[in-house]
C-alpha cells in the first residue's frame, strides 16, 4: 500500500482502485486480487482505495502502470469495459481547477520530477452503483471481471507496449 519512491528498476505495477465496501466499486480490487495469482512474481500488485492527492503514493516507483477502476459515464451499460491511455490524455493542455484525480496527480508528479510511471493505461468498468455501503455488485459488472483480467494479462504480456493503442 505504501510503495517506496526511490525504486530505480523499471517495473510494472497493477493498481486495483476501489472500495470493496461499496458495491460495484469493489471491481478494481477484485480484478487485482485475481491477476495476482496469474501474473509473474516481478509484477507488483497494489490494491488501494485512495482518493485525491493520496493517489500519489500508488503512482510512485513504477515505470509502467496498469490501473483497474470503475467509471460512471452514464453513456454505457453497466459492465462495459473502457480502456484509456492516460499518456495521450495528459497531452491536453490543462486540467480543471480543484480537480485532483489520477490525471492531475500524475501531471503534478511529472512537473515536480517525481518518479511517476512513464506509461499508464486504465481499464475501467462502467459501474451501476458505487455508493451503497455493503451493497451487492451488479451481475454484469461482476461478469466483466474475467474480461478485465484478460486485458491486464495481455498488457503485461507485451510489456505495456500496446498501452496506447488498445
Amino acid at each position: 500500500m505504501e510503495p517506496s519512491a526511490g525504486n530505480e528498476t523499471a517495473h510494472t505495477r497493477v493498481l486495483g482502485l476501489g472500495n470493496d465496501l461499496l458495491a460495484d466499486d469493489a471491481f478494481g480490487i477484485l480484478v487485482a486480487r485475481r491477476v495476482e495469482r496469474l501474473l509473474p512474481r516481478q509484477i507488483e500488485i497494489v490494491c488501494s482505495s485512495a482518493a485525491g492527492f493520496s493517489l500519489m503514493d500508488d503512482l510512485l516507483g513504477a515505470s509502467n502502470l496498469i490501473v483497474v477502476d470503475t467509471i460512471v459515464t452514464g453513456a454505457a451499460r453497466p459492465g462495459t469495459i473502457h480502456v484509456f491511455d492516460l499518456d495521450r490524455m495528459t497531452t491536453s493542455p490543462g486540467v480543471a481547477p480543484h480537480f485532483l484525480g489520477l490525471l492531475e496527480v500524475l501531471a503534478i508528479g511529472r512537473r515536480l520530477h517525481l518518479n511517476v510511471p512513464k506509461k499508464v493505461v486504465v481499464i475501467a468498468v462502467e459501474a451501476a452503483d458505487c455508493t451503497s455501503i455493503g451493497g451487492a455488485m451488479h451481475s454484469d459488472v461482476r461478469s466483466a471481471i474475467a474480461e478485465a483480467v484478460g486485458l491486464v494479462r495481455s498488457f503485461v504480456a507485451d510489456g505495456c507496449h500496446k498501452c496506447g493503442t488498445a
Binding site: 482505495s49 481547477p97 484525480g101
Partner: protein
C-alpha cells in the same frame, strides 16, 4: 416549484468527488433557490448494525478515501465513551500527535493543490493556468517539491505510530495498540520542527501572494462571499482551538457564546432539517430553530471548518499560531469574521497550530510512557465521539447491546454541518451572476469558489475515474424537459450544447 426552471450542475466525473449543484429559476429567470448536494453513501446504519462496535474505527475509516484518520479518531473516541474508559495520558498524546500530523498534511494539500487555483493563481486567470499546474508555475517547482517532501515525512510518521498512513489501525477503546518508542519520538521531534518551518513558509507565501494583493483582499471582504451565521467548533478549557478533544462551543453572529456543551449532548443542541427538493439533511441549532436559508441571529444555520473554529475560539494554544490568529482577525475586520473565503487563510493559521502542537507533543517526555491502554470492563450501551476534522466537526454515535454489538449508528460529517451555509453561499453567487434567465459561462468558476472555500468533503467513492468532463450544467424547464447543457471540459474550456 411548478413555475421554476431547474438547472443542475452535475459533474459526470467521480474523481475528486462529485458535488452536484442545482439552481432553480423562476418565471422571471431569476434565481429562486440554489443548493449543493454531496453524494451520499447509503446504507451505513444498516451495514453497521449487528457488527461489533470495535470494528467501527476500521470500517468507518475505510468508507472515506479523503479523511480516514478523522473517522478513525472520532470512532475510537466513541468507543472510549461506549466503554466508559479514559485512555492513559501517553495514549491520548499519541493519538493527538498523529492527528496533528494528519492536519498539517491535509491542510497543506488543500492550500496548495485544491484552494491554490483560486488564490495562488487567481480567480481571473485563464482556464489553462487556473489549475494545479498553474499553482506550481506560480510558487515554483522547488516549493512544490517541498510540499511533497513534507507530506512524505508526515505520512512516514503516521505509519510509524498508527500502523498505516492511509488507514490508521492504532485506536482501541481505552488507548492505542502500542507505545511510541524513544527513537520514533525523536523522529517525530525532527519532523515536527520541519513542519513548523514549513507552516511558516506557507504563511509567508500566503502573505506575499494573497495579502499583498488588494484585489484578493477586497474579494475576500466582498458581500457575495459573506454570511452572518452562528459558528461551531471544539475548544479546550481555555477556549482555544482543539482538533482532538474538548467542549463544543457555539458562538452567535455577534460573538456571544450561545452554547457550550459536551459532545455526548449534541442531540439536545443540533437538529436536522429536510427539504422536499433534496435528499440532503441540513443541520441547524435546535433552540434557535430552522428559519430557512437565511443569515442572522434568528436563523439556526451555523457553520463549521477553519473559519468557524477561529471565530469560536478566544485564541490559539501555541505562540506563532496565536500571533497569526490575531493578525487574521485584525486584517479581516475583527472577530467574528463572516467572509467565507477567509477559510483559506484560517486553514494556514490552523496548519501552523497543528505543526506547533505536534512539536509540543513530540517534546513531551510522557509520550513514550509504555502505559497506553486501559482495558474496558464496563458494560457498553451508548457512546458519542467527536473530533474536528479538517473540514469541520465530525460526530460518531453508536448504541450497542450488552455484548458491544451495534444496534444503531449515526454519523454527522463536517459537510452536513455546513450544508445550509454552503447552499446559501452558492445561492448568493448564483443570484449575483444570473439575471433575467441569462446563465453566463463563467458561473461555474465563481460558484465553485463559493463552495470550495469550505473544502466540502466529497470523499465518497471518489477514487474512480472521470467520465468525459468534470462539470455539467443541465438547464431544464419546470417539467424537467432539457433546454440546454453547459459543460466544462477537462481542459477548462466551457461549451454550450
Amino acid at each position: 416549484m411548478e413555475s421554476t426552471r431547474r438547472i443542475t450542475i452535475d459533474p459526470v466525473t467521480r474523481l475528486e468527488g462529485h458535488g452536484k449543484i442545482e439552481i432553480f429559476l423562476n418565471d422571471q429567470g431569476q434565481v429562486e433557490r440554489a443548493y449543493f448536494q454531496v453524494p451520499e453513501l447509503r446504507g451505513f446504519e444498516k451495514f453497521a448494525q449487528g457488527r461489533p462496535a470495535e470494528d467501527m474505527p476500521q470500517i468507518t475509516s475505510r468508507i472515506c478515501g479523503v479523511c480516514p484518520t478523522a473517522h478513525h479518531m472520532a470512532s475510537t473516541k466513541a468507543l472510549d465513551a461506549l466503554y466508559q474508559v479514559t485512555p492513559p495520558p501517553a495514549a491520548r498524546k499519541i493519538r493527538e500527535l498523529v492527528y496533528s500530523a494528519f492536519f498539517v498534511e491535509d491542510h497543506a494539500l488543500h492550500f496548495y493543490f485544491l484552494g491554490g487555483p483560486d488564490f495562488v493563481v487567481g480567480p481571473e486567470a485563464p482556464p489553462s493556468e487556473r489549475n494545479v499546474l498553474g499553482v506550481i508555475a506560480k510558487v515554483g517547482v522547488a516549493a512544490g517539491q517541498k510540499v511533497i517532501s513534507m507530506r512524505r515525512k508526515l505520512r512516514e510518521l503516521m505509519a510509524l505510530a498508527a500502523g498505516k498512513a492511509a488507514h490508521p489501525v492504532f485506536g482501541l477503546p481505552g488507548g492505542v495498540t502500542k507505545p511510541l518508542r524513544q527513537e520514533d519520538a525523536s523522529r517525530f521531534r525532527e519532523v515536527a520542527a520541519e513542519a513548523v518551518d514549513f507552516a511558516c513558509f506557507t504563511m509567508d507565501l500566503f502573505e506575499q501572494v494573497v495579502l499583498a494583493n488588494s484585489g484578493y483582499v477586497d474579494l475576500v471582504l466582498s458581500d457575495p462571499f459573506t454570511h452572518r451565521t452562528y459558528c461551531m467548533g471544539l475548544v479546550d478549557e481555555n477556549n482555544h482551538v482543539n482538533f482532538y478533544d474538548g467542549s463544543i462551543r457555539v458562538m452567535g453572529p455577534n460573538l456571544h457564546e450561545w452554547a457550550r456543551f459536551q459532545p455526548g449532548d449534541y442531540r439536545d443542541h443540533l437538529a436536522e432539517h429536510t427539504e422536499p427538493w433534496s435528499y440532503m439533511k441540513f443541520c441547524y441549532l435546535k433552540e434557535v430553530g430552522w428559519k430557512g436559508f437565511v443569515d442572522g441571529e434568528d436563523s439556526g444555520v451555523y457553520s463549521v471548518a477553519p473559519l468557524a473554529r477561529l471565530n469560536v475560539a478566544d485564541g490559539m494554544a501555541t505562540p506563532l499560531a496565536h500571533e497569526a490568529y490575531l493578525k487574521f482577525h485584525g486584517v479581516l475586520g475583527g472577530r467574528p469574521v463572516h467572509h467565507t473565503l477567509g477559510n483559506h487563510w484560517a486553514r494556514v493559521v490552523e496548519m501552523l497550530y497543528a505543526a506547533e502542537r505536534m512539536k509540543e507533543l513530540a517534546d513531551d517526555p510522557e509520550l513514550t510512557d509504555p502505559d497506553v491502554r486501559i482495558l474496558p470492563t464496563a458494560i457498553p450501551r451508548e457512546g458519542v465521539g467527536v473530533v474536528e476534522a479538517p473540514r469541520g466537526t465530525l460526530f460518531h454515535h453508536y448504541r450497542t447491546d450488552e455484548r458491544g454489538i451495534i444496534t444503531s449508528a449515526n454519523l454527522i460529517v463536517a459537510t452536513q454541518n455546513n450544508a445550509a451555509r454552503i447552499a446559501m453561499s452558492i445561492e448568493k453567487a448564483a443570484k449575483k451572476l444570473i439575471t433575467g434567465g441569462s446563465v453566463p459561462d463563467g458561473i461555474l468558476n465563481k460558484i465553485e469558489m463559493a463552495f470550495r472555500a469550505y473544502d466540502p468533503c466529497l470523499g465518497c467513492a471518489t477514487h474512480s475515474l472521470p467520465g468525459s468532463m468534470p462539470l455539467l450544467v443541465h438547464v431544464r424547464n419546470a417539467r424537467g424537459a432539457s433546454m440546454f447543457v453547459l459543460r466544462r471540459d477537462s481542459d477548462g474550456t466551457i461549451r454550450r450544447e
